[in-house]
């Protein structure tokens, strides 16, 4: 660091050397380490997030590829097979036997329930997204309110100090007036 003083007889370099020596001395005395000095000097201000600027990409991400998290369910899914060519034959047999199968059990309520569950999952995704957004906003507002409370506390302490000073001055004045016989 350098500085300018437009005064005669001031050796800026010598002053700088003295300043650096004084700081080194303090460091040696254990008052502050280099690391602490760096941390104090470079600590940035925490960025300010505005609650109304918050945007979450969660919903867009979920809606983009629902197959990753939601059941892909259609009414004929229970007859499908994943065994390639043999599977296709198996699917055809299952479809052919579907009327007979229905004599033993009714898959329709199960299909309806699973289909509904798929829709419910999608609704939960929306709900979760909105909750995440709202909780983050509330969290930011709480941080702000906490700061505001601390500010008010600071102001209150300052005002209390002012009040105390005023009281001391008023008391002092009353005492001196009494000594002068004014009261």
């Amino acid at each position: 660091m350098t500085f300018e003083i437009r005064a005669e007889g001031v050796d800026v370099e010598a002053v700088m050397r003295d300043i650096r020596a004084a700081i080194e001395e303090k460091k040696k005395a254990g008052l502050l380490t280099d690391e602490e000095i760096r941390e104090i000097a470079s600590r940035p201000l925490r960025p300010v997030l505005q609650p109304h600027d918050l945007k979450s990409g969660l919903l867009a991400e979920l809606l983009e590829r629902p197959s990753r998290w939601n059941a892909e369910f259609e009414s004929d899914a229970i007859y499908r097979s994943s065994r390639g060519g043999a599977g296709r034959v198996l699917e055809a047999v299952r479809r052919a036997l579907r009327p007979i199968q229905k004599l033993f059990w009714n898959p329709t309520p199960m299909l309806a329930a699973l289909s509904r569950q798929k829709d419910i999952n999608a609704a939960y995704a929306h709900l979760l997204h909105n909750l995440v957004l709202e909780v983050t906003r509330l969290n930011l507002e709480i941080v702000d309110l906490r700061s505001r409370t601390l500010q008010l506390q600071g102001r209150l302490e300052f005002q209390a100090r002012r009040e105390k000073t005023l009281e001391t001055m008023a008391l002092g004045r009353t005492a001196s007036d009494r000594e002068d016989g004014a009261i």
Binding site: T2, I5, V15, M16, V48
Partner: protein, 376 residues
């Protein structure tokens, strides 16, 4: 000054005439000098502080005095109704520019103000063809006017009411601050370009390394900039800096108490169009340490200590040195006394009339007001 046929009416237009504000005080001083020189002169303002109610007329009365023979000294400010009014009025226009903080300083802390500042600079450029003469209160501001396209520019430094500094200070505030602690003072609005965060960093180091019994006294309004203020409070707490006092807006007597209680004035601001508090501190014989940015060097006129960079530990060391080395302090105060002698020697009234001479001694150019375009 005004020849036969020259204008006799020189009025001023402001967005706000505030109490204790440097621009308001300058407007009052200009009016006084103009009236003494025989001109009809009033101040018109959009917003007038109740304490200044007698000093200004409301903006809506301006059309009563507006004419092609009236010279209007317009104190340029962002997003004001006064700007829209004068842009379309037939008056001869002299703009007085006190600087617009670049928008980027407010990004992240005050997006609305950032927008206003951005558009304010565009508006400044739009006023260039409409303005006969543009005066900046420093050479730095004059250069900005030139860059914005103003053809005729000049410098009219802010006038200080040095007599007012002799008035008594608030005894309560004086007693409050004169409690044996070392007072490091900064005066100015709590806004990001003033780099109050850097002041807190330097002070935190100063307090840890040299003087536990010290106070950072930050005198200035923070209303409207609560986000930045919040972060500063947080920074002070995180760094363990004790006695960082934000006074908020204060009356003149409390400001005088702050200057009289101050042991050193520290300014690490990175954008200043003039910086009146530097002159005030010198007038109160408080040693000044300031970072060389914007118009700071000009305003100091060779007084005080000018920092070329601001590595916090070294600035803290320099502050300590100035507070403890009587000889160095005396030398710095000598430089400040010389600078203040220059300020005192300036005849503001004569300088004002000299700067306005090109407008006051010439009749209005025919059709000047008719050619203007509306601001974007």
């Amino acid at each position: 000054m005004s020849p036969a046929g020259g204008p006799r009416r020189v009025h001023q237009l402001l967005a706000a005439l505030a109490y204790g504000d440097a621009i308001g005080n300058e407007a009052l001083a200009i009016r006084g000098h103009l009236r003494r020189a025989g001109f009809e002169s009033d101040i018109f303002a959009e917003h007038v502080h109740p304490r200044m109610a007698r000093e200004a007329r409301p903006l809506w009365q301006y059309p009563e005095v507006s004419s092609p023979d009236t010279v209007c000294l317009f104190h340029f400010s962002i997003g004001s109704g006064a700007a829209r009014l004068i842009f379309h009025a037939p008056d001869r226009l002299v703009s007085i520019y006190h600087n617009i903080t670049p928008a980027e300083w407010f990004l992240g802390f005050h997006p609305h103000l950032a927008g206003l500042c951005y558009h304010g600079r565009r508006e400044l450029a739009a006023f260039a063809p409409r303005t006969e003469l543009a005066l900046g209160d420093s050479e730095y501001n004059r250069r900005e006017l030139e860059a914005a396209g103003y053809a005729r520019t000049g410098v009219l430094p802010i006038v200080l009411d040095l007599e007012s500094y002799r008035r008594p200070e608030s005894p309560v505030a004086r007693r409050l601050y004169d409690d044996g602690r070392t007072n490091i003072l900064f005066v100015g609005r709590v806004i990001p370009n003033k780099k109050i965060d850097d002041l807190i960093r330097v002070f935190a180091l100063y307090q840890r390394l040299f003087d536990r019994h010290s106070r950072l006294l930050l005198v200035g309004d923070y209303r409207g900039h609560e986000k930045y203020y919040d972060r500063l409070q947080e920074l002070a707490r995180a760094r363990g800096a004790q006695e960082v006092v934000f006074t908020g807006p204060v009356d003149d007597d409390e400001l005088r108490a702050a200057y009289r209680s101050a042991d050193l004035f520290l300014c690490l601001s990175e954008h200043e169009g003039f910086c009146v508090p530097l002159l005030e501190a010198m007038a109160f014989e408080v040693p000044v340490v300031a970072f060389d940015a914007g118009a700071v060097r000009e305003t100091l006129r060779g007084g005080g200590v000018l920092l070329r960079d601001k590595e916090p530990a070294t600035v803290a060391g320099l502050v300590r040195r100035l507070l403890t080395d009587e000889a160095l302090r005396a030398r710095v105060l000598e430089t400040q006394a010389r600078a203040m002698a220059e300020v005192r020697a300036t005849d503001f009234g004569a300088l004002l009339l000299e700067r306005l001479r090109p407008v006051l001694q010439t009749p209005a150019p025919a059709g000047a007001a008719a050619e203007v375009r509306a601001p974007s």
